[in-house]
Amino acid sequence: MTRGHLDSPGVAAGTPPDGGVPAPPDGAPASAGWVERALREHDEQVQGETARFERHGSPQPLPGTVREELVLERIDRARRARPRVKEDRITMSHGAGGKATQTLIEAVFLDTFRNPLLEPLEDAARLHVNGARVALTTDSYVVSPLFFPGGDIGDLAVNGTVNDLSMAGAVPLYLSAGFILEEGFPVADLTRIVASMQAAAVAAGVQVVTGDTKVVQKGKADGCYINTAGVGVIEHSLDLGVARARPGDVVLVSGPIGDHGVTIMLARGELDIEADICSDTAPLNGLVASLLAAVPGVRALRDATRGGVATILNEIAVAAGVGVIVTEGDIPVRAEVRGASELLGIDPMYVACEGRLVAVVSPEDADGALAALRAHPQGTGAAAIGTITAQPPGIVQLKTAFGGTRIVDLLVGDPLPRIC
């Protein structure tokens, strides 16, 4: 590579000096194999479309608007195509809760394990055991740092699993706890984590009844990872699920969003930003019980963990084949979270919560549901943030506070690794 050695006082102002420019290098540049592969697939996909694009027998191309419609159609088809993991190796994006995670789950796990109980990909599976309806779920926790304002990996591991059961409408009963510990991990830290798990279990009314411990060599793990699984019973006849959302339904959140994710990011101390906020980690079974007791019209419940509220709304839109429209000004976000997000260029809609739920409720029960949420200590900040629409299916839109409209898509990439 030739380097420039021009002494130019105009460097900073960017004014190019005249003359004396050596010719750029020539020779045939290389090309990238993966790009060619992607293009081949593209060609296969659009085969036969060319005729439509160029209007058969006519020398003029189609008008712009019609061409754009075809492009949008094509995108839609590409998005509905069978998911396939294109990467050779797992990257951090596969764990971020966005598009890559979804592709991995559908292309690798669902495709192999496929069965009717797994297929809905809800927070917990709902099973019939000797006539009783039971919910079963599992979740692993790799949060870094292990201790953060408002909680630690211990209460996170209990609350997360309690909440996954609660979102299935189940009363959580029993939990398992599996520990993967790194050689050299301080026993005092482990004791502290386990004590906090027990406190969370007592608060949620569940018991940890079985467990497992593994130790790996130093450097093969990061301190302490925890897996919890849980079972609960479903005592009502409601069939909750994001696929049940109908046009006209109202979308509620149970409180300000993004607290957990922003807390973790700041707790890592890499950003030199300080804010007075803590994680919202909390058990939601009490809140769900009050909600379900208050109104019959609850269609779906989700806790907005990795990927945040935006991801949940997209799951609703896709699973139910409906549109979702939310109003930015109605979405509760603490000023500290908003401020940190503005500084860092992230959108609170995608930031994880660990003690907030999104509920889809029939229009006639919306007011009652909101009142029930607000009457519970975990739901004082609840708000109605949007509605379900018939059109356009599969798409989440946001009415911005500025007065415009935009799409809220699934997250691509990984802004905040290892938040739970």
């Binding site: 960017g14 590409a78 890559a100 911005t400 935009r406």
Partner: protein, 375 residues
């Protein structure tokens, strides 16, 4: 929230939009280019185009730092990073930019030590903590980020840090704007000037656009009302037939720029005779290299950099999109082979890239326009 909500007031936006509409002459089309990717992002994120009359079109310019990095430079960086003695540091935006053998993220998954930093100064910390490794910072960006790279080099020199260097890919905005102005296939009426770059270089370097090309320039801030006001100021100039450089972002941008930052750049870096831009080709005097005096912090001098050239894939029309000749959706592979998950072109990588912004936020705006139009 203070200093944010004031700049997103819907009532003020409606008032400005009405004044913009009133300035439109019947039958005339207005094409305005926002040079900076930060503006593109704001426009889409807040749905700003909803406010604009049909006669006013925004063209998304080349001012997204990762969008203009050619694939060959990514491959060069990857070659540097693959040295087992090297720790590569990079801004987050750069991590997903595809080279011919995948992105930094893919390389990281294969075991290459690439770390994300929020400031180039963090690289010095990593260098101090790893004295047996050589830390290379992948420096990208326009005059906005060049001063922080310059300050980092100066700091490293003051400390006498032996294991830190910069792989310099800084580019300068003015030659790119000039290339666009000279491009025969483009007709623009005015420019929304890049706010962040101007905090460093000031407003004077744009005067040739108004003087020699007769196009008005308004340097703009990054909140939606900033941009709407800048469009109004441009429309006002166009209606009067004037072309001058105006500064809408005067709360941040000094007319003469930031002399301290300019001095730091001038002290550590010099213009390259030419540099390849993604989609725009070679542009003379459009990029910066580390000066001879700081050769010990210049990765290009310390390592053997292969100097790979990779052709932009034929189907990828990033160049036309960067020049504003094509709308993102008009690119052949938009949304099918090239998506935010698997970007082929750099315009699809960064949230500041026109294609990614349009794919993620904008698709419906177009749909609505289409439904509203009688055809």
């Amino acid at each position: 929230m203070k200093f944010v909500d004031e700049f997103r007031d819907a009532d003020k936006a409606h008032a400005l939009a009405a004044r913009i509409t009133a300035l439109c002459e019947p039958g005339r089309q207005y094409k305005l280019m926002e040079v900076c990717g930060g503006h593109t992002h704001t426009i889409y994120k807040h749905g700003l185009e909803d406010y604009l009359p049909e006669q006013v079109t925004l063209v998304h310019g080349p001012g997204c730092p990762v969008c203009v990095i050619p694939m060959g430079r990514v491959d060069d960086a990857m070659a540097l990073a693959s040295d087992p003695d090297v720790i590569m540091t990079s801004f987050g935006d750069m991590m997903r930019v595809p080279g011919s053998n995948g992105s930094f993220f893919d390389a990281k998954a294969r075991g290459t030590d690439i770390r994300m930093v929020y400031s180039p100064l963090d690289s010095l910390k990593i260098a101090r903590q790893n004295p047996d490794k050589r830390v290379v910072f992948m420096a990208i960006g326009f005059e906005t980020t060049a001063p922080s790279t310059a300050m980092t080099v100066l700091r490293a020199a003051a400390e006498g840090l032996p294991n830190f260097s910069v792989f310099c890919n800084h580019v300068t905005i003015i030659p790119a704007i000039k290339a666009i102005l000279d491009s025969p296939d483009l007709r623009l009426d005015g420019f929304i000037g890049p706010g962040h770059v101007s905090t460093v270089i000031g407003c004077r370097p744009y005067e040739f656009i108004a003087r020699d090309y007769g196009k008005p320039v308004v340097v703009a801030g990054f909140e939606p009302l900033d941009i709407l006001q800048s469009i109004y100021m441009l429309m006002l100039q166009l209606s009067k037939g004037t072309s001058t450089v105006e500064n809408q972002y005067s709360r941040v941008v000094p007319w003469d720029g930031n002399p301290v930052a300019l001095r730091a750049i001038g002290q550590t870096m010099e213009l390259r005779p030419y540099f390849e831009w993604r989609g725009l080709g070679f542009i003379s005097h459009s990029a910066l290299a580390v000066r001879e005096e700081y050769a010990r912090f210049d990765a290009e001098r310390l390592f053997s950099v292969p100097g790979v050239r990779v052709a932009d894939p034929k189907a990828c029309q990033c160049g036309e999109v960067l020049k504003g000749v094509l709308k993102p959706w008009e690119c052949k592979v938009f949304g099918t082979a090239c998506t935010p998950e698997t970007p082929i072109g750099t315009c699809m990588v960064s949230p500041e890239g026109a294609c990614a912004a349009y794919y993620n936020y904008g698709r419906l705006t177009r749909q609505r326009v289409r439904e509203a139009s009688p055809s």
